[in-house]
């Protein structure tokens, strides 16, 4: 995490993606000129247990920097997986600004196999919008 302090209003985006949208990588927060997103929390719930792929990730739009990755092994049918869970989660650029002027996508592991079996993914992203970080 860069040694900068971000302070802002907590926002939340909730929605549902089909497995095809997850595999295709779908934009859930649009790019904002002069601003960046900071993912601070959230959760996933799969409908049908997720298979094959390694993880479902929250990434930025262009550079594909991972904010948080949730192991598919944890995405069993109907199970609520908070991003602050003590296992099955990999935090990378989490709690710090993602790319400048970039939106946020939910995606299978970039370059990895497709998510199978599951039919949909409910998501909640808790985030801040901050000025682009140096």
């Amino acid at each position: 995490m860069a040694n900068t302090t971000c302070d802002g209003r907590v926002r939340c985006k909730i929605g549902r993606l089909t497995v095809a949208q997850v595999n295709a990588s779908t934009l859930v927060l649009p790019a904002r000129k002069g601003e960046a997103y900071v993912i601070i929390g959230g959760w996933f719930v799969a409908t049908g247990s997720a298979g094959t792929a390694t993880s479902v990730d929250v990434i930025d739009q262009t550079t594909h920097t991972v904010a948080v990755a949730v192991a598919c092994s944890a995405l069993t049918n109907g199970t609520h997986i908070p991003f602050l869970k003590s296992s099955d989660i990999t935090w990378t650029t989490f709690g710090t600004a993602l790319g400048s002027n970039e939106g946020v996508k939910i995606s299978k592991t970039v370059g990895g196999g497709d998510v199978t079996t599951t039919t949909a993914l409910d998501y909640c992203l808790e985030y801040l919008v901050v000025p682009n970080q140096a």
Partner: protein, 131 residues
């Protein structure tokens, strides 16, 4: 907790405090003379596993700082996110409750213990409201 309902827009401050800053105290939410701060949630993550000190705390800025929430260094293992709402290694004191009006928040190790060792930095995300 006082039988009072607080309704306010939740805010969040996030950043990184170096070990030296955690030992000395780093201001993360500046005081507002007209407002009281209530910590509502958050998490910490150490770079390098923390030791020596007892805990890393979110405290207010009174002369004798009041603890909002304290995270035991035993949980601050390199790279692990420690939720303020975790069932273990977290002590909630003035948490979900208003601190004294006009006081800000700082991240500060337990003052009675030795200096925070081994870790090089602590990432923090602190959710709060101003009332």
């Amino acid at each position: 907790m006082a039988n009072t309902t607080r309704l306010s827009r939740e805010r969040c401050v996030c950043g990184t405090a170096t070990t030296a800053e955690v030992i000395a105290g780093k201001l993360i939410v500046p005081p507002d003379s007209a407002k009281a701060v209530i910590v509502t949630g958050g998490w910490m993550r150490a770079t390098g596993s923390a030791d020596t000190a007892t805990s890393v705390d979110i405290k207010d800025t009174t002369d004798t700082p009041v603890v909002a929430v304290a995270i035991a260094v035993a949980a601050l293992i390199d790279g692990a996110v420690v939720d303020f709402d975790a069932a273990a290694n977290v002590t909630w004191t003035t948490y979900g409750v208003a601190h004294t009006k006009g006081k800000g928040l700082q991240i500060l190790q337990t003052t009675a213990a030795g200096g925070l060792g081994t870790t090089t930095a602590v990432d923090y995300v602190v959710r709060y409201i101003l009332v």
